[in-house]
């Protein structure tokens, strides 16, 4: 472990200066080093969360204290092993994590892994929808802003990007709900699907949990329409939050590449401005966007918690808030640790993709 920590500054750009001497095998080595970097990251977060959650006392008192007589409570604490030294509990917890056991919730006694598999699909669906909205809004607008740099359309678009950032997702969600479902009645107010669709979904064999995928597979187009109409507002609310970031990124990077010599060369050969932006300047500008997309995963997960609460979208974030309100800290700890692992792994994948696209990252 110590040697692992010594290698990196945890920034992909400078991870492998040693491999510079060797011409071949850079990618393989990079992937291995980058993979082992996940371990210290997750380890630190697990440790941090574990000790923070223990500072406030044992989880059973937190969840059920006051509702149970003291002797029953003490018995339960003893049974669960929460009266032993914290360090022993900590190492036991680490051991459980390695075997994939994230503990069971206190309030409804479900394994945390099961909570993830039940509600994770909904969060994944929301994130994908939102990402589509974010890219569909962010990239074209970013290109337009870059092409009309310092003109009024650029100013308007940049202001729009800042506005996207400045509006909390629960407020944009509230406004969308108010406008499009309460006043105009175009979309449903909350939820992932109407009760009837949810029932049909639950009868499906081997569901993926992602509703539109399940509806497509079973060829149920009424359900698909229902799912789609429920998905619009949450996706827009969460998508706009990240759309602003993408817009700015595309704009700055395209402006950067537009200043390059080869663009000037293209222009002198009579390539149209539109083609210059969409063909020549756009692709090299994509690389930093992919890298930053990895960082956006964390922001999106945070936003997903708020979006799910706003729209009663029953995903991981919604469930997390339920457990928080029930003071079920084992469940909270489990979900938080799981999310930490998801974020770390996604960042790893994104870094690998960036390295595949741009060989410079590896060296």
């Amino acid at each position: 472990m110590t040697t692992l920590i010594e290698v990196p500054e945890a920034e992909p750009g400078i991870v492998a200066p040693k491999s510079k001497s060797k011409a071949g095998g850079g990618l393989g080595k990079y992937i291995v080093i980058r993979f082992f970097l996940i371990i210290p990251t997750v380890f630190i977060l697990v440790t941090l969360v574990f000790f923070l959650m223990r500072v406030i006392g044992d989880p059973i008192t937190a969840a059920q204290g006051g509702r149970l007589p003291p002797d029953v409570l003490a018995q339960r604490i003893h049974d669960a092993g929460y009266d032993r030294p914290v360090l022993i509990q900590y190492f036991e917890y680490l051991g459980q994590l390695i075997t994939g056991n994230f503990g069971s919730t206190i309030t409804d006694r479900r394994p945390v892994v099961e909570v993830l598999t039940t509600f994770g699909a909904a969060t994944l669906e929301l994130s994908i929808n939102a990402l589509i909205v974010a890219l569909a809004v962010g990239i074209p607008f970013g290109l337009i802003a870059a092409q009309h740099r310092d003109k009024s359309s650029d100013a308007v678009l940049r202001f729009f990007a800042i506005l996207c950032y400045a509006t909390p997702v629960f407020f944009s969600g509230l406004l969308l709900k108010l406008t499009f479902s309460v006043w105009l009645g175009w979309f449903p107010v909350a939820g992932r699907a109407s009760t009837r669709t949810e029932l049909t979904m639950s009868t499906l064999g081997a569901p993926s949990g992602i509703y539109w995928l399940d509806a497509l597979r079973s060829g149920n187009f009424a359900a698909l329409g229902d799912v789609a109409s429920h998905a619009v507002l949450p996706a827009v609310a969460l998508g706009l939050l990240t759309a602003g970031v993408f817009l700015r990124l595309v704009r700055t990077n395209v402006i950067g590449t537009l200043g390059k010599d080869y663009i000037e060369a293209g222009r002198s050969r009579g390539v149209s401005e539109f083609r210059l932006v969409t063909k020549h300047a756009y692709k090299p500008a994509l690389i930093p966007i992919i890298t930053v997309m990895g960082l956006q995963i964390a922001l999106m997960l945070g936003g997903a918690i708020l979006t799910e609460t706003t729209f009663e979208w029953k995903g991981l974030g919604y469930q997390l808030v339920q457990y928080l309100n029930a003071r079920d800290f084992v469940a909270v700890q489990g979900i938080v640790v799981l999310l930490a692992i998801i974020v770390a792994v996604t960042n790893f994948i994104v870094d690998i993709i960036a390295a595949l696209i741009d060989p410079r990252v590896r060296y």
Binding site: T41, I56, L163, T167, L306
Partner: protein, 330 residues
Amino acid sequence: MSTPSLTAPKQPLFFRLPVVSHLRKSVGLQRGMLVVGVVLSGLFLLTSIFAPLLAPYGYSQLSDASGSFPTQQAPGAKHLLGTTVGGYDVLSRVLWGSQTAVTVIIVSVAMSLFLGVALGLLSGYFGGWLDRILVVVADAIYAFPTLLLAIVISIVISRGQSSFWGGIFSCAFSITVVFVPQYFRVIRAETIRLKAEPFVESAKVLGASSLRIIGRHIFKNATRTLPLMFTLNASEAILTLAGLGFLGFGIEPTSAAEWGFDLNKALADTSSGIWWTGVFPGIAIVLTVLGLTLVGESINDLNDPRIRGRKRAGATKTPATPTASEAGKP
């Protein structure tokens, strides 16, 4: 920052202050953005200072001489922005809310500035195992969803709800934990860069102690980006505070007014078409964050000579490369 030419006389202190100097060298659209930002932020600050005078009622006031306030009343003469489901006056809570927001910003930014700068200077200057550990820890925290971390910290500190100062500190502290890695990274990188500069070398040769080198030679040079980070983090602090409040981990309505909490309560109202309880606190958040972000953005642009617009007519369009601070910002 303000043209340290050898011959130019030093300008008075006022003109060298961060925002003022930026305002003087800005032009056109960039000046417009900065002015709007400064005006919005100024309004926000003034509102928070004069909230007790501006607000018609107290933030937790439920009745006056003529009896109890009606609940969920539409905006009217007596309650300009209506009342909430709990019978609070919306306008008063929006105005008082600015005070809570300012307090949280000041406490959290002060704490994270102090911790982040100190750790960054030490880690960057001395290096070694302390540096490695701090970098790995900071990176781990940095990659984690800020809101989740803030939730965990606020549970630890206040178990969810609390009094005014308890709530303020739990919010501020959760925001601090999230921000320290950011300050740490920036200051550390600057420190490492400055450590190799000739003036640090010569100070060492002259026998200056490490403390003096860090405190005098590196600190002053490494902290030039702080005004920018301050404004951006202030806006993020407001969003985190509102997010915590919205999830029910904020400050109790009887101990202070908080916009996120009010939005949470307003969520149930929307389905019956009651808009005033949610729209006004929401607008307050947006305007405040907008103002602070505009100031930060403009400072960022103006600090970069490649992006900054020039005063002369026929300014050359200099090709801009994406700056690190702009590209990596969420």
